[in-house]
Amino acid sequence: MSARAAFAALCLLAAASVRADNVDIVVAARKQVGVTLHYDPAYRKLSFPGGDVPPDRGVCTDVIVRALRAARALDLQALVNADMKANWGAYPHSWRWRLSRPDPNIDHRRVPNLQKYFERAGWSRPVTRLAADYLPGDIVAWDLGRGILHIGIVGDVASDNGARLVLHNIGAGAREEDILFSYRIIGLYRPPSGPPAGLSPRPVATR
C-alpha cells in the first residue's frame, strides 16, 4: 500500500469514528414538533421505568428523553436513576437541590443531571464556536443566564448562517429553531452511533 493510500485510509477511519450517524435521533426529536405544544415543568409522579409526562407537554429535557427512547430504546429515566443510585456523589443534587436520595420522577428531567450522565457515559465533546463541530443528533446544553440551563438536539437542517437548527422546547413546545449559538454553550454530547433499538447501552463507568 502506498503512503498516499495509507493516509487516505487513515483519514477515512478517523472521519468514520468522529462522524456519528445519529440522524435517527433527529428524526425522533422532530416527530415531537406539533405534538408537544406546552412547556410544563411541574413535578409529576411517573411510572418506572419508561415513565413520561403527557406527550402534549414537557420541558427541554423531555425532548432528549423521548428522542433517545424512540430512536435507541435508551431509557434515560432508568439509566440516570441507576447511575445516581450507584454514584450519588457524582451528581449535583446534594449542592443544587439538597436532596438526599434519587427521585425517578424528576431526576432525568433536569439538565445538570443529564449533563452529568452524558459526561460519565463518555459522550462529551469539546465545546467550540464552529458550526461544523455540531453534528446531527448531538446534544447541546446552554446556560441561558441567571442559573437557567437548557438542552436540545442538533438537527440535520442548516440555517442561513451555516449553523444547524436545534430541536428543543424552550418554553412553547417542541420546535426546530436557529438557536445553536444564541446562548452560551456549556456542553456538547455525542451519543454513540446507532446500537439497534433494544440493545443495552454502553454501561456507565463507576468511580
Partner: protein
C-alpha cells in the same frame, strides 16, 4: 403636663376598617387599661409621655393576639420595643424564611 400625640398614617390605620380585631391603644400605663385613643390613635398622657399606636383587642376579637406582632406602639415618637413595637421585624424575618423555603421547594419540584 398634657401633651398631644400624633400618629402618622400607618399601614394598620389603613387596615383598621377591615380588621375588626384592632383598636387604639390606651395612653396610660398599662397599655391595656385606661383611656382609649381616638379613632386615629391620638391621645395624651398625664405624665407627658405619648403612647400612640395600635394594639390587638382580645376583647373584641379572640384572635386578636395573632396580630399582636404587628401592633405598633410609640412612646414620644419612638418605637417602643416590648410594647408591640418591633414585632413586625419578627414577622418580616418569619416571612423571609418562609419565602426562602418556598423558593427551595419550588426549585426542587421543577423539571428542566
Amino acid at each position: 403636663m398634657q401633651r398631644r400625640c400624633e400618629v402618622g398614617a400607618s399601614l394598620l390605620e389603613h387596615l383598621r376598617p377591615f380588621v375588626g380585631g384592632i383598636e387604639p391603644v390606651t395612653v396610660q400605663q398599662p397599655l391595656n387599661g385606661g383611656r382609649v385613643l381616638d379613632s386615629l390613635g391620638r391621645g395624651t398622657t398625664g405624665d407627658g409621655t405619648c403612647r400612640t399606636g395600635w394594639m390587638p383587642s382580645r376583647r373584641r376579637w379572640p384572635g386578636g393576639w395573632l396580630l399582636s406582632p404587628f401592633s405598633q406602639v410609640t412612646v414620644n415618637g419612638r418605637s417602643a420595643a416590648g410594647e408591640g413595637g418591633g414585632g413586625a421585624l419578627a414577622w418580616s424575618a418569619l416571612a423571609l424564611l418562609l419565602g426562602a423555603w418556598l423558593m427551595r421547594r419550588r426549585m426542587e419540584m421543577r423539571a428542566g
